[in-house]
Symmetry: C2
Subunit: 216 residues, 2 copies
């Protein structure tokens, strides 16, 4: 069965979240050379900004009274939902943006949740299926740093992926990715390299978590 992969980076090149997710996918691919990957690039090809509200309103509207754009929004939510339901392993690569969640990832979650099969009232639609979340932060947010507590995204992403949809989630966090880009951070080069190596090691390890899904 396919791997579902979502990328939320808005970079066309040099995306660290994409590079780390590539390692996860590579581990999975090694044991599944023929399997399909379903991709959603929500950062580079964002969903329409009106789709979610259109789908919410459509949900309260009789089908014959729906507008064309409401029908399109419902159909898009159904397509996104089918991409999830037909997969059996999941990979999400989502950078921290402005101390919060990617707007495009939130837009994708909101729209998916309008599909009755994925709504929280439907129970955990993806219960116990294996997933990896790759999170990338430009700075450092660990205990004792000035930005401790400024990551307001991971908690919400885990809430949706684990608590609402029931995924069996592993998280790879990569920090200090602006070292080498922002000269003010040059003193942290060794630490950043060490963090990157650790994230890459973990990415390969968590890739095996996805492989495990197929041998159940």
């Amino acid at each position: 069965m396919p791997l579902f992969r979502l990328d939320a980076s808005i970079r066309t090149e040099g995306s660290v979240s994409r590079a780390i997710a590539d390692i996860v996918e590579g581990t999975w691919r090694h044991d599944n050379p023929e399997a399909k990957v379903i991709t959603r690039h929500v950062g580079l090809e964002p969903l329409p900004a009106t789709a979610w509200a259109e789908s919410v309103v459509a949900d309260r509207t009789h089908e014959e009274a729906m507008t064309t754009s409401q029908k399109a929004a419902v159909a898009l939510a159904a397509t996104l939902t089918e991409e999830l339901l037909e997969s059996d392993a999941y990979l999400f690569a989502v950078p921290l943006y402005n101390f919060g969640v990617s707007q495009h990832f939130k837009a994708w979650v909101d729209l998916v949740l309008t599909d009755p099969r994925m709504a929280s009232r439907a129970g955990q639609a993806l219960k116990d299926r294996p997933a990896v979340l790759v999170v990338v932060r430009g700075g450092a947010y660990g205990p004792g740093t000035p930005r401790e507590g400024w990551d307001h995204a991971v908690g919400w992403m885990r809430r949706i992926l684990e608590d609402v949809w029931g995924l069996d989630l592993r998280v790879v966090e990569s920090e200090f990715t602006l070292v080498g880009v922002n000269p003010a951070l040059d003193e942290f080069k060794d630490l950043a390299a060490q963090m990157r190596a650790e994230a890459e090691r973990l990415a390969a390890e968590h890739g095996r978590h996805l492989v495990g899904a197929l041998t159940h």
Copy 2:
């Protein structure tokens, strides 16, 4: 000077966040019958989903090499920024959606932060100006409830409004707004009415916080 007001509800009618914000605005208006209100309905008239990324890329591009859509994104960020800078009091009405931040409010913040005048490196651009944030949640999220800790939006909103932009912020939180809408919550009618009355009282009080700005 004007009041800047942002609404993130996707409802065309029956929005509780809008009703509570109306009370805040009414208090402010009482003492400022002639002053202008600058409004942004980011829920009903969302910003384009591609604007933020276009503006980020434009920031790294020479002006003569910018595409038309990049120029439009930069111009939109500048317009949003001017709406903020020319105001001296602020009102944000933002519902909790799917346990997280409004995608449309996040899109607005992301785009505003691309303007060099509002970027975090510019310092606190709105330092000490008075603001009210109205937050509305359909269920109850207080201590001891099953959804304690499931509000993943307010922490991030405060981070941006208070820590990044320096606003002197008051928050009005209204909960259980789905009581009367969702029959499963009917047993909480009295509690919900009590919470709503308290939110309305606080809204009127915090409206005076905005008025205070004009007498500095």
